[in-house]
C-alpha cells in the first residue's frame, strides 16, 4: 500500500463507514460493529503513515482540479499527521464510549448520530491532510456543518438556541473573515499552497500583515480566541460524546491546528518576527488564557455546570496553543503541536468522566459531586489524571507540552508568556483540585426532598469505563513515551528530534 493510497483511504474510510452505518441502521448491534470496525481500519491506515512521514516522506494527492489553477489537494506533513493521528486514535475509543452513553441514556436517532459522527471524522481528516488553504477551508466548513446535527441532537428549544449560536458564530467568522483572508492571500501571492517558510514574504508588508493575521486568527473561529469563543459553551447542549470528541478533539483542534498551520506555512515565522504589526496575537491569546481560566474558576466556585466549566477550560487551553505558536520560534511551535495531543487526551478523559457521572448518577452540577469518588472510583480516578494534565503536572502528558512552551518562551525572552503560564497554571489548579478533593474526601450529601435517585448508583456501564480508562492511560503514557508525537512536532518545525 503506497502512502498516497493510505492518504485517500484515510479520508474515504470514515465516509464509507457513514454509508454503511446508515445502511445498517435498523440493526443496532451490527451498526455499532460497523462503527468500531471503521474506527479500527482508520486507525490502522493512519498509523501506517506515521513511519513514512517521520522518514521524511510528504505524500501528496491531487483529488480534483477545483477551478483552473487551484487543486483540491491532500498533502501529509508532520503537524497534520499529529492531528490525524489524534483523531484516528480517539475515534474508536469514543465510539465505544458513545455506545455505552447513547444506550445508557436511551437517546433517540442513534443512526443519525453515528452517521454524522463518521462524516465529521472524515472532515477532520480532510482538515488535517489539507495541502492548501482552499482544501483546508472546504473541510473546515464541512466539519462545521456535519457537527451541527450532532450539537442539536436533542431537538429541544435549548438545542436549537445552542445550534444557532454554534452555526452563527462559526459561519460568520469563517465566511466573513477566513474566506476573505484566503481570497486575499490568493490575490496577493497567486498560490494557496502550504509551503515551508511561508508564501506571503515579499508580497505583503507592514500593517497589511497584521490585518491579514487578524482576519485569519478570528476567521478561524474554531480556535476560540476571545471574543469569538462563545460557540463553545453554547455547543455544550450536545450529548457528552459529542462534546468529548468534537469539542475536545476534532472541532477545536481543527481550529488551533489551522491557526498553527497558517502561521507556519502561510506567514512563516521570519515574516511574523520581522513585522511588529503581528504582536497583538500574543496579547489576544494571553488574555484569552487568563480570562477563560477566571471564568472557569468562577463556575467552579459557584458550583455550576461541570461541562460548562470544562468548556471554558478548553478555551483557555486552546489559547495556550495559539500563545505558544505566537512566540514565533520553532521550539515553542513544537510545544504547540505536542499540546494538541496532550490536551486532546486529557480533555477527552474529563468529558468522558462528566458523561459517565451523568449516565450513572444524572448529575451535571459541580456541587453534586461530593463523595462521588467512592461510588465511581474509576471515573473519578480518570478525572483526576485528566485534571493533572490540564494543570500541567507530572505524570500527565500536559507537563511535557508545557515544558516545551516554556523552553520556547525562554529562548525568545518572552517573560510575559512565562508569567501568563505561571498564573494560569495556578488558576487551573484552583478550579480542578477542589473538585477532585470533593469527590474523594467529602461526605455524600443526602438528596434533598428525599428523592432517592442518587442512592444506589454505582459505576457507569462497562463500555464507558473502558473508554475513559483507556484515555486516562493514554494521558499518562504520553508523559513517559512522548517520542512519536515529539518527533513529529520537531519534524514539523524543521529541527531534528
Amino acid at each position: 500500500m503506497s502512502p498516497e493510497t493510505s492518504v485517500v483511504l484515510a479520508f474515504a474510510i470514515p465516509l464509507a463507514g457513514a454509508v454503511l452505518i446508515a445502511a445498517t441502521g435498523s440493526l443496532p448491534n451490527l451498526r455499532e460493529a460497523v462503527t468500531l470496525a471503521t474506527g479500527a481500519a482508520l486507525l490502522f491506515v493512519v498509523a501506517s503513515l506515521v513511519p513514512e512521514v517521520l522518514a521524511g516522506a510528504r505524500p501528496s494527492v491531487d483529488l480534483v482540479e477545483w477551478v483552473p489553477g487551484i487543486q483540491l489537494r491532500f498533502t501529509v506533513e508532520p503537524l497534520g499527521m499529529i492531528f490525524a493521528g489524534v483523531a484516528a486514535l480517539l475515534w474508536p475509543v469514543n465510539s465505544l464510549y458513545s455506545i455505552g452513553y447513547m444506550r445508557g441514556n436511551g437517546e433517540s436517532h442513534q443512526t443519525r448520530f453515528y452517521v454524522f459522527f463518521a462524516i465529521a471524522i472524515a472532515a477532520a481528516i480532510g482538515v488535517a491532510f489539507a495541502g492548501n488553504l482552499l482544501t483546508l477551508f472546504v473541510f473546515y466548513e464541512a466539519l462545521t456543518l456535519s457537527t451541527y446535527p450532532l450539537v442539536t441532537h436533542k431537538g429541544t428549544e435549548d438545542a436549537k438556541r445552542g445550534g444557532r449560536a454554534y452555526l452563527g458564530i462559526l459561519m460568520t467568522t469563517s465566511i466573513g473573515l477566513l474566506f476573505f483572508a484566503i481570497v486575499w492571500t490568493w490575490q496577493a501571492t497567486g498560490t494557496t499552497e502550504f509551503t515551508e517558510g511561508g508564501i506571503l514574504s515579499g508580497h505583503l508588508e507592514g500593517a497589511q500583515v497584521g490585518l491579514l493575521l487578524f482576519l485569519f486568527m478570528f476567521g478561524i473561529g474554531k480556535a476560540a480566541i476571545m471574543p469569538v469563543h462563545r460557540w463553545l459553551p453554547a455547543a455544550m447542549v450536545a450529548p457528552t460524546p459529542v462534546s468529548a470528541l468534537l469539542h475536545a478533539v476534532a472541532v477545536v483542534k481543527a481550529g488551533v491546528f489551522s491557526v498553527v498551520k497558517v502561521l507556519v506555512y502561510v506567514f512563516g515565522f521570519e515574516l511574523l518576527q520581522a513585522e511588529p504589526s503581528t504582536r497583538w496575537l500574543l496579547y489576544a491569546a494571553g488574555f484569552t488564557v487568563i480570562a477563560a481560566s477566571v471564568v472557569a474558576l468562577r463556575i467552579a466556585l459557584e458550583q455550576g455546570n461541570l461541562k460548562r466549566m470544562l468548556a471554558y477550560s478548553t478555551i483557555s487551553q486552546l489559547s495556550y496553543i495559539v500563545l505558544s505558536a505566537a512566540i514565533f520560534v520553532p521550539i515553542s511551535a513544537a510545544g504547540a503541536g505536542l499540546h494538541i495531543v496532550a490536551h486532546a487526551f486529557g480533555k477527552i478523559t474529563l468529558f468522558f468522566a462528566a458523561g459517565s457521572i451523568y449516565t450513572a448518577a444524572h448529575k451535571t452540577e459541580i456541587g453534586q459531586l461530593k463523595g462521588i469518588g467512592r461510588r465511581m472510583p474509576w471515573t473519578m480516578g480518570a478525572f483526576a489524571i485528566g485534571a493533572l494534565s490540564m494543570i500541567g503536572l507530572p505524570p500527565a502528558g500536559g507537563f511535557v507540552s508545557k515544558w516545551y512552551i516554556l523552553l520556547g518562551a525562554f529562548e525568545a525572552d518572552q517573560f510575559l508568556v512565562m508569567g501568563i503560564l505561571v498564573v494560569s497554571t495556578l488558576l487551573n489548579a484552583a478550579y480542578f483540585v477542589p473538585i477532585v478533593y470533593m469527590a474523594f474526601f467529602m461526605e455524600e450529601e443526602a438528596p434533598i426532598g428525599g428523592n432517592g435517585d442518587s442512592r444506589g448508583h454505582g459505576e457507569a456501564p462497562l463500555p464507558i469505563v473502558m473508554a475513559l480508562s483507556a484515555t486516562a492511560v493514554l494521558t499518562v503514557l504520553l508523559f513517559f513515551f512522548p517520542d512519536v508525537p515529539l518527533a513529529l512536532a520537531h519534524a514539523f518545525t524543521g529541527g531534528g528530534p
Binding site: E141, L145, R164, M171, F179, F180
Partner: protein, 493 residues
C-alpha cells in the same frame, strides 16, 4: 446534419409547440415536450463542444450571407448560456408531469406545454442569434409565452402578477426596439458583428448614447435589476411551481446574456465603460439590490416569495461581476449565471414538491417537514447551502471569483458586502431549516403526508447533484466562463 445544428436548436422546440397544442392530450404533449427539450440539450452540448474545439460558429439562415441575412453566431458565451437554458428545460420537463397535473386544470395541460415550448424557443433564440432585431422577436416570443405561463397559476393573484409583468415587460421590450432602431439609423445594419465594426465610427453622435440609454433601461427591466424588479416577486410567487423553476433559472439569465452581448460585443467595453461609464450606474444598483433584497428576503413568510427576493439579490451579484469589467469579474458574472440557475432551480423544485404535497409554501406549513419529506427538505438544504456559498457547492465558486474580482479592483467594501449578504442568506435559509427540523408537524394526521413522487424528486436531486459536482470540480464551468469573459473583453484566448 451537424452543419444545421444552430438552427435546429431553435427549430425543434418551435415545432414542438404547435404539436403540443394540436395533440390536446396532456400526457402526449408532455412526451413531445420531453423529446424536444432533451434534443435541445443534446444539441446544446454538441454546439458547446464544437465551439470549444473549433472556435466561433457562424450559420447563415436560409443561405443569405450576413449582414443582409440573419446570422446565427455561436461563440463561447452563448454556447454556455444555451447549455444553461436547455439543461434546465431538460430537467424541468420530467418534473412538470406530476406537478402540472396537480396545479393546472386537465383541459389546459396540453396548452401549457405548448406555451412552455414557445418560451424555450424564445430563450434559445435570443441566445443564439447574431441579429439584433431577431433578438427582439425572440424576446417577445419568450415573454408573451411567459406571461401566459404565469397566468395559469391557481391563485387569482397570478393574473395580476402576469398583467404587471406584461406591462413592464412590454415597456422594456419596446425600449429595446427603440434602441435597436436608433442603432440602425446610424449604421444601417442589424448584424451584431457588423454593428461592432460600424458603431465606433459614429459613436460621437448624440444618437448612439441615447440608443445606449434605451437599451440599458430596457434590458434592466427584463433582467429585474433593482429598482426595475417590481414585477418579479409576484410573478415568481404565484406562477405554477414548474413555471417558477423554469423562469427563475433561465429568463433572467438570458437577459443578463443580452446585457453582455449588447454592451461588450456590440458597443464594446471601451465605449460602454470608458465613454458611457456604465459601471457607475450598474455598480451602485447591484450593491443596493444585493443588500436590500437580501434584507427583504429575511422578512418574508411565503418561502417562494423569499426565494424570489433572493433571486433579485443574486442577479445583483451577476451585475456586480459584470460592472467590474475585468476578466475575473466577468468570469464571476457569467459563472454565476450557470450556478444560480442550478441552485435556484433546485430550491424552487424542492418548494414545488412541498406545494405538491402540502399545498402551501408558507413558512408555517414547512413545520415538521424534515421528518415527513426528508428527501425534499434535504434537497432544499443542499440548495440553500449552495445559495449561501458553502464550499463544495457551486455558490462557493461564484463567491470565490466575485471576491477575487473585487479585491483586484481594490474594492474592499464591495467584497465585505458580498460576504455580509452571504451571511444574510444563512439567516433566511436557516429560518426554513429550523421550521422543518425543529418544529412539530401541525395537526394530528397520522402519516397522511408522504414524500413527494419520485418523478419530482429525481429531477430535483439531479440539480442538487449538479450543484455538488460543479462545486467540487469547477474547472469545466469556470474554464468556459473564463474563456467567455476573455472573448467578450477581447483579450487573448
Amino acid at each position: 446534419m451537424s452543419a444545421h445544428l444552430p438552427v435546429l436548436q431553435v427549430l425543434v422546440p418551435l415545432l414542438a409547440a404547435p404539436l403540443c397544442a394540436i395533440l390536446r392530450n396532456g400526457r402526449a404533449a408532455w412526451a413531445v415536450a420531453m423529446v424536444a427539450s432533451w434534443t435541445s440539450l443534446w444539441i446544446a452540448i454538441q454546439l458547446l463542444t464544437l465551439v470549444l474545439a473549433n472556435g466561433t460558429i457562424s450559420y447563415e439562415l436560409g443561405g443569405w450571407a450576413a449582414p443582409w441575412g440573419i446570422e446565427y453566431r455561436i461563440d463561447t458565451v452563448n454556447a454556455f448560456v444555451l447549455l444553461i437554458v436547455s439543461m434546465i428545460a431538460a430537467v424541468v420537463t420530467p418534473y412538470a408531469l406530476k406537478s402540472i397535473e396537480r396545479e393546472v386544470e386537465a383541459s389546459r395541460v396540453a396548452l401549457f406545454y405548448a406555451a412552455f415550448m414557445l418560451c424555450l424557443t424564445g430563450l434559445l433564440g435570443i441566445t443564439i442569434t447574431g441579429d439584433v432585431f431577431n433578438v427582439f422577436v425572440f424576446l417577445e416570443i419568450s415573454s408573451l409565452s411567459a406571461y401566459a405561463l404565469i397566468a395559469i397559476g391557481q391563485n387569482r393573484k397570478a393574473l395580476t402578477a402576469a398583467y404587471q409583468y406584461l406591462i413592464m415587460g412590454s415597456v422594456g421590450a419596446t425600449f429595446i426596439v427603440i434602441g435597436i432602431g436608433m442603432m440602425y439609423v446610424m449604421t444601417g445594419s442589424l448584424n451584431m458583428a457588423d454593428l461592432s465594426v460600424l458603431l465606433p465610427q459614429v459613436s460621437s453622435s448624440r444618437t448612439i448614447p441615447v440608443a445606449f440609454a434605451f437599451l440599458t433601461v430596457g434590458i434592466s427591466l427584463k433582467l429585474a435589476l433593482f429598482p426595475l424588479h417590481l414585477w418579479l416577486p409576484n410573478a415568481y410567487t404565484y406562477a405554477p411551481s414548474t413555471v417558477t423553476v423554469f423562469i427563475a433559472s433561465t429568463a433572467t439569465k438570458v437577459a443578463v446574456y443580452m446585457l453582455l452581448r449588447f454592451f461588450f460585443t456590440i458597443f464594446g467595453p471601451a465605449f460602454s465603460f470608458d465613454v458611457m461609464q456604465l459601471d457607475r450606474v450598474l455598480l451602485p444598483l447591484a450593491l443596493v439590490a444585493i443588500f436590500s433584497m437580501s434584507l427583504v428576503a429575511i422578512f418574508q413568510t411565503n418561502i417562494k416569495r423569499m426565494m424570489a427576493y433572493s433571486s433579485v439579490a443574486q442577479i445583483g451579484y451577476m451585475i456586480l461581476g459584470i460592472s467590474m469589467a475585468s476578466v475575473t469579474g466577468l468570469t464571476a458574472g457569467i459563472l454565476h449565471m450557470f450556478n444560480h440557475a442550478m441552485m435556484k432551480g433546485a430550491l424552487f423544485m424542492a418548494l414545488g414538491c412541498v406545494m405538491y404535497r402540502v399545498g402551501s409554501v408558507h413558512i408555517d406549513s414547512m413545520r415538521g417537514l424534515g421528518k415527513r419529506m426528508p428527501w425534499t427538505m434535504a434537497a432544499f438544504v443542499m440548495g440553500g447551502l449552495s445559495l449561501i456559498g458553502v464550499p463544495l457547492t457551486v455558490g462557493f465558486v461564484s463567491k470565490w471569483y466575485l471576491i477575487q474580482g473585487a479585491l483586484e479592483k481594490g474594492w474592499w467594501p464591495v467584497a465585505a458586502l458580498v460576504l455580509l449578504t452571504s451571511l444574510m442568506a444563512v439567516v433566511y435559509i436557516w429560518r426554513v431549516v429550523e421550521a422543518a427540523y425543529f418544529q412539530e408537524f401541525p395537526g394530528d394526521d397520522d402519516g397522511e403526508l408522504r414524500e413527494a413522487p419520485l418523478a419530482m424528486l429525481v429531477p430535483t436531486w439531479a440539480l442538487v447533484l449538479i450543484n455538488l459536482y460543479f462545486g467540487i470540480d469547477a474547472s469545466l464551468t469556470a474554464g468556459v466562463a473564463g474563456a467567455a469573459a476573455r472573448s467578450l473583453l477581447g483579450v487573448g484566448p
